[in-house]
């Protein structure tokens, strides 16, 4: 082999090494980007909090008894505690970097438990809770204590006062509890619809149907579905399922059911194909043995064939879950983009993926929160895929 040939060969080989490394670099970049931007916000509060902050004006009757609770030992140096009012406040920064004052502790005998909602007469559960933001405390006879002056200042003024006119506070907001619950609901409903239909269809096509023109046409129709872009499925959800659910359920607009139905249609060809593949792997001997023993087709299918095909169906299900979590274009049409905190299956709300889209199309875009949600989605989806890989690996080992 001439030296020139060697050089050319090495160059060509080098190009393939370079190309292959691009994929790895992209994956690495995406993961680093999502972690870097999203990890800061990731905590349990984000997952359990509502997205929309609720604002309250609390008024107070005459205070008869002040708190007697000593400063609790678990408070850190950053917490400013008022023994008189039994409340601890702390300085913090919100997502835009503005100063805010957050309630870090409130004692059970705090007079602040007696406040009433000035905006709503019969709000029984009204109270200040740990994690609320205090924006201002207004007094009759002196200047208001505003959050911009910090927690220390606020506590100082509180300690000097025996009475106030109004306390303005809000819940933290910015949480993703609503979208998370919606996503879980959608996964449940979609799988409940798509799995039986998909698996039954696969069984029909692979086990029961004869090879004729009609069945071939049905098969090619289902195959055509795979190539349809998800935004077209979204249009179908908008044109078919939304009116359908509005007519037959209490829903008044796009809702979780219409979203789930749309997703179910997207998943059908995927589930059918995966199930069929796993049915094809089952050796024909199983069927013949079962039939020879006097079992009928149904018994053979359910008792002999399906159990062997179970790993394949399981992988299809897991992949479907990943697909549901990641789907955005179809759902933007089929359930809308409104981020909601009170989730009902007949109401509007939105999944985690669509939540990212709404955050990014807002002005200004909230890249941090979007990345945090993306981080959650990414971890779940990549884990699901690795699990699938593991299952099929085990299964192949068993077969071999």
């Amino acid at each position: 082999m001439s030296n020139k040939r060697k050089r050319i060969d090495n160059l060509l080989k080098g190009i393939t090494y370079f190309s292959a490394s691009i994929a790895a670099i992209i994956l690495l970049f995406i993961i680093i980007f999502v972690f870097k931007n999203g990890f800061g916000l990731l905590n349990i509060d984000l997952i359990t909090n509502d997205y929309h902050a609720k604002f309250y004006n609390g008024g107070i009757e005459e205070v008869t008894e002040f708190s007697k609770t000593q400063r609790p030992s678990h408070l850190s140096d950053e917490d400013y505690y008022s023994e008189k009012w039994g409340i601890a406040l702390r300085d913090d920064l919100d997502r835009e970097g503005k100063a805010m004052v957050i309630v870090s502790y409130i004692s059970e005998d705090s007079p602040l438990y007696q406040i009433y909602d000035k905006n709503n007469d019969d709000n029984d559960e009204f109270m200040i809770e740990k994690g609320n933001l205090i924006s201002s405390i207004k007094f009759e006879d002196k200047a208001s204590a505003l959050s911009v002056y910090g927690a220390q200042h606020m506590i100082q003024i509180l300690n000097e006062s025996n009475q106030f006119r109004e306390i303005v506070f809000s819940s933290l907001g910015g949480g993703i509890r609503g979208s998370l619950i919606t996503t879980l609901y959608i996964i449940g409903i979609t799988l409940a619809i798509a799995l039986p239909i998909g698996i039954f269809s696969a069984i029909y096509l692979n086990e029961l149907s004869r090879k004729n023109k009609i069945n071939q046409m049905i098969r090619s129709m289902i195959e055509t579905l795979t190539g349809v872009p998800s935004i077209i499925y979204g249009l179908m959800g908008l044109a078919v399922f939304v009116p359908l659910t509005v007519k037959y359920t209490p829903a008044t607009s796009a809702n979780l059911i219409s979203g789930s139905l749309t997703l179910a249609v997207i998943l059908l060809p995927v589930i059918i194909k995966a199930t069929e593949e796993s049915l094809k792997v089952v050796p024909d001997d199983y069927r013949q043995a079962s039939l020879a023993l006097g079992a009928n087709r149904t018994q053979t299918t359910f008792k002999a064939v399906l159990p062997s095909a179970l790993p394949g169906i399981l992988t299809a299900t897991i992949l479907s879950i990943g697909r549901i979590i990641g789907e955005s274009a179809a759902l933007i049409f089929a359930i809308g983009t409104a981020v909601k905190d009170n989730i009902t299956i007949f109401g509007r709300s939105t999944t985690l993926s669509v939540h990212i889209w709404s955050l990014m199309t807002d002005e200004p875009a909230n890249i941090e929160l979007a990345s945090t949600i993306a981080l959650i989605i990414l971890v779940i989806v990549l884990l699901l895929n690795l699990i699938v890989k593991l299952i099929s690996h085990q299964y192949l080992k068993k077969l071999a």
Binding site: K13, A20, I222, P229, S328
Partner: protein, 321 residues
Amino acid sequence: MLKIFNTIKIKLQSKHKKDYIDIFVKALFFLTTLISASFIVIIAIFILREGIRPFIDDYDGIGRVNLIRFLMGTTWLEGQTFQSNLYGVGFIIINTLYIAFLSLFLSLPIGVLTALFIAKIAPKRLASVLRTIIELLAAIPSIVYGLFGSGVILKIIYEMAKIFGVQSKGGNSVLATVMVLSLMILPTITALSEVAIRSVNKDIELGSLALGATKTQTHFKVVLTSAKSGIFTAAILGVGRALGEATAVSLVAGNARSGPTFAFFETTATLTSTMLQGLKETIGIDYDIRFSVGIVLIVVILITNLTLNFVKKKIGNVYVK
């Protein structure tokens, strides 16, 4: 009446009971299969029904959309302010095709070479790691690609535009869209090309080696040529995905209202990003026109697929397994 019930009961209890269950189950499963298959028809009917309305209905004085102008138009006027029936989708069709093929141009060579590396060149361990990486890339939801695009790629392109001395709207541009789409179709192309490369008959390879060609020569000249039909299929699927991708594109395209745009740093619009604009309406021409664009998208994808499949046949095959 009772007699009939009894006969049915006896019939069911007889030894043929199993057969009835078989018939029932078969009928049920056939029904679900019919339901699965019918969705393609439902999609066609309903999107056509809604999408045709802007060309027929008068919309209380706004007027119907002119089909020729719609298909050839170079501006897209929408929104309450315009009360408009002046939608032009012609430039968007050109933009969409331009972007899809540019993306393919970028990711096809990289994808095919990666596939070749995984299938033939890499050591076994490395190959399986890379295969997992490709699978994970394919599993990443498009919205995350969109987020990555607007968080990283837009910034890079904004800086690049500054270096070139061109204005760019925060990086939203043809180039950004092409890059995001290339990333997204890369795993599809790689995975499918790998299958194609693997299915090349070993004899052809051995023949080439026996004739004195080096391994690398064989890989590039013989294996790739033999797999070209499969690689073309991968390219067709890649273009299909690029044409239909919606959310990620809408975050980086910039939603140009007129065009067509070919310059890399100018904003652009695709059929899908146009469909995602102005989601507030639930009725009226702005709502219906989305379906018309949907029809155009389906037709564009169909025509592209047919053309590429025709080209694939013309190119022919060295070897088909």
